[in-house]
Amino acid sequence: MAVAVDIQKAVEDAAAHLYVWALKDIPQDLRDAIGEAAERETSVPGRRVLDTIVRNVEIADTGGNLVCQDTGIAVYYCRVGEGFPLHPARIYEALYNGTERATVEHPLRSNTVHTLTRENTGQNVGYRVPIVHWEFVPDWDGLDVKCVPKGSGSENMSFLKMCVPADGVAGIKRFVLDSIVGAGGKPCPPGIVGVGIGGSADYAMHLAKEAISRPVGTRNEDPLVAELEAELFDLLNATGIGPMGLGGDVTALAVHVEHADTHMTLNPVAVNYQCWAARRATAHVSADGVVDFDREA
């Protein structure tokens, strides 16, 4: 019993660290993508935006400040090994407490409100917040926790369409194009465009969200889906929306697509946008409570 409590404390500490770390230090793959975008951009306002972003990331590093003021809604992705000695009910408790502690101790702006009264519910925690997604892994005794604080500017630019099978892949591409042009500068482009296809309405959006939490530069393992990612990337960057919607060559840093098999009469497509400040941070927790933080995952 004492062992389990210690592990719960280790997960809570990890969550508290991950939340703040994700907000302050954006991953290298993203820094590289922003740097490349700044070199490729030719529009004057677009270059101004990208140069400012590069400067901002450096200032967050040297000043130890948050990259963006929007501390987001706390989202975690957990991969739990079947042999991990802490039950998911307690893992959730640890993530909840870790999020709350980080918010109080830093302090971080608290964004969480009751969805009807709009009253603040506490320190970035509330009813069903943080939001935690679970995956259970056989023949393993570890835990991976990825923290993805999600800003509202980009989350507000989420779109779902139940295309029909006759719309085909062309219908999927058209919906993604229309969504990103319609979003314009609001989601802080250039960012990661997450696309979820197949499954059901809710699962397509879940997949789109999962897609934005992948590192830039990763491709879907299914070559057909990877090809769709590449094609969408070219299409979106041909729209001219540009950095912060002020016009330019770079509209998306990456397009990630996740898919699931679906019903023969369904063709759902979901778009979830992630801003250029695509915050994420991961911890690997071993069965004996040793935490290994991972910048790349």
């Binding site: 004057v44 306002p45 101004r48 935006v49 400012t52 972003i53 400067r55 901002n56 990331v57 200032i59 967050a60 000043g63 400040n65 948050l66 990259v67 963006c68 003021q69 929007d70 501390t71 830093h106 302090p107 971080l108 702006r109 800003g151 509202s152 500017g153 507000n156 062309a170 591409k173 058209r174 194009l177 229309d178 042009v181 314009g184 500068g185 609001k186 989601p187 802080c188 299409l235 041909a238 729209t239 001219g240 929306i241 540009g242 912060m244 919607g245 002020l246 016009g247 801003c275 250029w276 400040a277």
Partner: protein, 194 residues
């Protein structure tokens, strides 16, 4: 596309000199405002306890640390999406003499005509670049309506605030309008490639 340095509060004359695409850096005083602040002013009819004549309004809900009664220090101050608050553009200019609205993501086309008629501009800031923005805010000088935390009415003293892009000017030009019009044209060709 000029590089302009301005001090706020300012005059209609100075605002009329700005053109869409110009780069602007700001010194002086700016006012932080957000959804709930403007709902209180315009929907609930409460007069703002700060003078907004000639003002620069920033769409923000800052992260702050409380020092004492009515006193706060900055932690992380950035900018929110403006489009949600577009309906307040005209009354802000007409009733209170606001000269500039600054936010991220732009204002829809319905802001173009009141900005032209009243002599106002929209400044685009780089959304998410809060670490930089925080260093350009020297001090939080005043806070009103603290019960709306963090959507209070804030008065900041700033230095070298920017770079901002004039995205909607007072002559009927909007970069957002132009970018959308161009994108709609391009979409026709892109659809043909699907």
């Amino acid at each position: 596309m000029a590089d302009v340095r301005m001090t706020f509060p300012t005059t209609e004359e100075a605002i009329r000199e700005l053109r869409a695409g110009d780069s602007v850096t700001v010194d002086g005083h700016i006012i932080g405002i957000r959804d709930r602040t403007q709902i209180r002013i315009f929907d609930q009819g409460q007069e703002p306890p700060m003078d907004l004549k000639g003002a620069f309004l920033l769409h923000t809900a800052p992260g702050v640390r409380k020092l004492g009664e009515g006193r706060y220090e900055k932690v992380c101050i950035g900018t929110t999406t403006s489009a949600r608050m577009v309906r307040f553009t005209e009354p802000l200019g007409e009733r209170y003499g606001v000269r500039a609205i600054c936010g991220k993501g732009g204002l829809p086309d319905e802001a173009i005509e009141p900005m032209r008629r009243l002599g106002m501009v929209y400044f685009a800031i780089v959304g998410g670049a809060a670490a930089l923005e925080t260093t350009q805010i020297e001090e939080i000088e005043e806070v009103a309506w603290e019960e709306l935390m963090p959507e209070c009415l804030w008065k900041f003293r700033v230095k070298d605030f920017g770079p901002l892009t004039v995205a909607i000017d007072s002559h009927g030009n909007s970069l957002y309008h132009d970018v959308q019009a161009e994108a709609k044209k391009r979409l026709e060709d892109l659809y043909a490639r699907l």
